[in-house]
């Protein structure tokens, strides 16, 4: 009887359990997240406000203060007028070079790698295992070892310092890891589906285009993001395999920011940097959702 009396003095638990919002766990959790977020956002903030200030305002030295007078002059200068060496047409040349490099490289590397991955996963041809081992090995060879031999190769092919040369380089270097990515994804697609397609009379290409590819959109998105950001952000290959006329945007950015002549125009530099980072940033924003989906896709059946 004492039991029931005890119970009636406390509320009988019912429905969802009440949660304390300001619990210690929550304070620590959200506190940490906030600090991390600020840590990453402050540099971006500084860059944006600086790029919108005029030089006199920057010389005052308050890097955190918002611009008193907003000006887009530095952005225009960075895009169209900044000088690198002899050229004074800003980053725009580099931007278009990067576009001309990235689009074909992404397309070629993904097309070839996905077909490789498909062949490895589904058509157990003779020597497939050996091929796969070599490919994995290729993924772990340090780039530096191959730089000079590739210079010679490109020279002999007559495309050294030309855009097609750099496109070829990016396509080759993307191959091992992308093939691995596609192969692993295709092996998660039930084998019976592949068998059904064969019974239905589809051949190598028919199965690839009509059955496998439509089921693999997420992994294609992942591959596109990986390649676009990777190739766009590349600096090393750009410096080595191109010349000033064909420099990609990153290399040109470096030359603008590190130019030793004249005063350092911090606002122009910041604007140039932001412009260069805009493409990968957009890709992330646009495809963020698909990206997360693609990474986990195939982890669980159904």
């Amino acid at each position: 009887m004492t039991n029931s009396q005890n119970n009636s003095s406390v509320v009988d638990p019912r429905g969802p359990k009440p949660r304390k919002i300001m619990s210690r766990r929550n304070i620590i959790l959200y506190g940490t997240l906030l600090v991390v977020a600020i840590y990453y956002l402050i540099p971006l903030y500084v860059m944006i406000v600086t790029s919108l200030k005029g030089m006199p305002e920057i010389r005052l030295g308050n890097i955190f203060s918002p611009p008193v007078e907003v000006t887009f002059e530095p952005w225009i200068k960075a895009w169209a007028q900044a000088c690198t060496g002899l050229n004074c047409d800003g980053l725009s040349r580099g931007f278009w070079n990067s576009v001309k490099i990235t689009i074909p490289s992404v397309f070629v590397s993904i097309a070839i790698a996905s077909i490789n991955g498909y062949a490895l996963a589904n058509w157990r041809f003779k020597g497939a295992n050996l091929f796969f081992t070599i490919l994995i090995f290729g993924a772990f060879i340090p780039y530096q070892i191959m730089i000079y031999p590739l210079v010679i190769l490109l020279r002999d092919l007559g495309i050294y310092t030309k855009l097609p040369g750099l496109i070829l380089i990016h396509s080759i270097f993307g191959m091992p890891i992308l093939t691995l990515l596609f192969r692993n994804y295709f092996t998660t697609i039930p084998e019976e589906l592949f068998k059904a397609a064969r019974v239905d009379g589809a051949k190598f290409w028919g199965i690839y285009f009509r059955v496998m590819m439509p089921m693999s959109l997420p992994i294609f998105v992942v591959a596109i993001i990986m390649q676009v950001t990777g190739i766009w952000n590349d600096f090393l290959f750009g410096v080595i395999y191109t010349k000033p006329d064909t420099y990609p945007m990153t290399v040109q950015l470096n030359n603008i920011v590190n130019s030793v002549q004249g005063v350092k125009e911090y606002n122009v530099n910041m604007a140039a940097t932001l412009l260069t980072g805009l493409v990968p940033l957009t890709v992330y924003f646009v495809s963020g959702k698909l990206f997360v989906k693609g990474i986990t896709a195939g982890a669980v059946k159904g």
């Binding site: 068998k195 059904a196 239905d200 009379g201």
Partner: protein, 364 residues
């Protein structure tokens, strides 16, 4: 005329020999069920017939044509898989017409065949849906339809019903049987469900470790299993096996190891060979062929048994007991009054039993 003929088929996965020198012929219009425990090579055999696996040796004929080196689509077979294997991004109609488009049939012909198949399988209203929006039973119907539209001689089914729940399974089982009666195609059907095998098959092939143990009608496999494995595999609950010897006392009699007051007279049993005296054997008796009570008195062999455990199963009750220390199960009607520790008079006819060699486990 043989619809399918397989000669000396061998298939290895690396060092593992999965199918060993297998021979099989299937008549035109026959419904053949491949039955066997998991991993015995049923799916492997089916995939070989379909051309989805490269065989190591042997020949395969379909419709008197040697198709050993043919592509799956050229063999005149349709296949239905356990996991349905529908193309998820295509509609039902797309799934049904995929093979026809690959075969470059005319639009009208495709339209006609899809309509025909969807009518037979009653999936006309689902044609525009994607597989994700279908129930399990509907998906399997579409999968069957995909084989149906191709207008082929031979249907291959790999456990098509095992992903469905019990009720749906019985429904679709009947539908498949109806389909077979209507179409008169040759069908090879893999399952490890013996009820499916018994109900559907014209003939059953019992497989074990890549070999066909017995190939015969369900009735004969049930009543005259060729060895102890087949006897134990078919029938639920499984056959009772009593270990003992055959003695000669003017007539052959069975002497149970461990002692038993009865020594059943085996003179009615049709031995396939003359038995040497003191041969060690298994005496196999199906639980369903044991009778109790008054009926038991009329049986050639009858005796009293103590009840150890009983399991009510609806119409019948399965009773567990022992004879001379060896397990013995039998069925009684649900209305028979039984209690643990009580005794029952049971009887059976040795003519309906099966006797196997103790060593080789072959039927005697």
């Amino acid at each position: 005329m043989n619809s399918i003929e397989i000669n000396n088929l061998s298939l290895n996965f690396g060092d593992v020999k999965v199918l060993k020198d297998l021979n099989l012929s299937v008549n035109k219009g026959e419904f053949l069920v491949l039955l066997g425990a998991s991993g015995c090579g049923k799916s492997t055999l089916l995939n070989c017939i379909a051309g989805l696996l490269e065989i190591n040796d042997g020949q395969i004929y379909i419709n008197n044509q040697n198709v050993t080196w043919f592509e799956p689509s050229e063999r005149g077979i349709g296949m239905v898989f356990q996991s349905y294997a529908l193309y998820p991004q295509m509609s039902v109609k797309g799934n049904l017409s995929f093979s026809l488009k690959n075969a470059k049939l005319s639009k009208d012909e495709i339209e006609k065949r899809v309509k025909h198949a969807s009518e037979i399988l009653q999936i006309e209203s689902l044609l525009d849906r994607k597989p994700a929006a279908l129930s399990g039973g509907q998906r399997q119907r579409v999968a069957i339809g995909r084989a149906l539209v191709r207008d082929v001689e031979v249907f291959l089914f790999d456990e098509p019903l095992s992903n469905l729940d019990a009720k749906l399974r019985t429904e679709l089982r009947v539908e498949i049987k109806r389909l077979h009666q209507k179409l008169d195609n040759t069908m090879i059907y893999v399952t490890h469900d013996q009820i499916e095998a018994m109900t559907l098959a014209d003939r059953i092939a019992i497989m074990r470790d890549g070999l066909i143990q017995q190939l015969d009608t369900p009735k004969i496999i049930y009543s005259n299993p060729v060895n102890k494995y087949v006897a134990g595999f078919i029938g639920s609950p499984g056959m009772n096996f009593l270990k003992g010897k055959i003695l000669q006392d003017g007539k052959p009699i069975f002497k149970l190891e461990g002692g038993w007051c009865e020594s059943p007279d085996l003179s009615n049993y049709k031995f396939q060979e003359t038995i040497k005296v003191e041969k060690e054997v298994w005496l196999g008796i199906r639980p369903e062929s044991v009778v109790v009570g008054g009926e038991a008195e009329n049986m050639p062999v009858n005796f009293n048994l103590e009840i150890e455990v009983f399991e009510p199963m609806g119409a019948d009750t399965l009773v567990w007991s022992q004879i001379g220390g060896q397990e013995f199960r039998f069925m009684v009607d649900v209305n028979t009054s039984i209690n643990v520790g009580g005794t029952l008079t049971v009887g059976f006819d040795p003519a309906h039993a099966s006797i196997f060699d103790l060593e080789s486990e072959e039927r005697l």
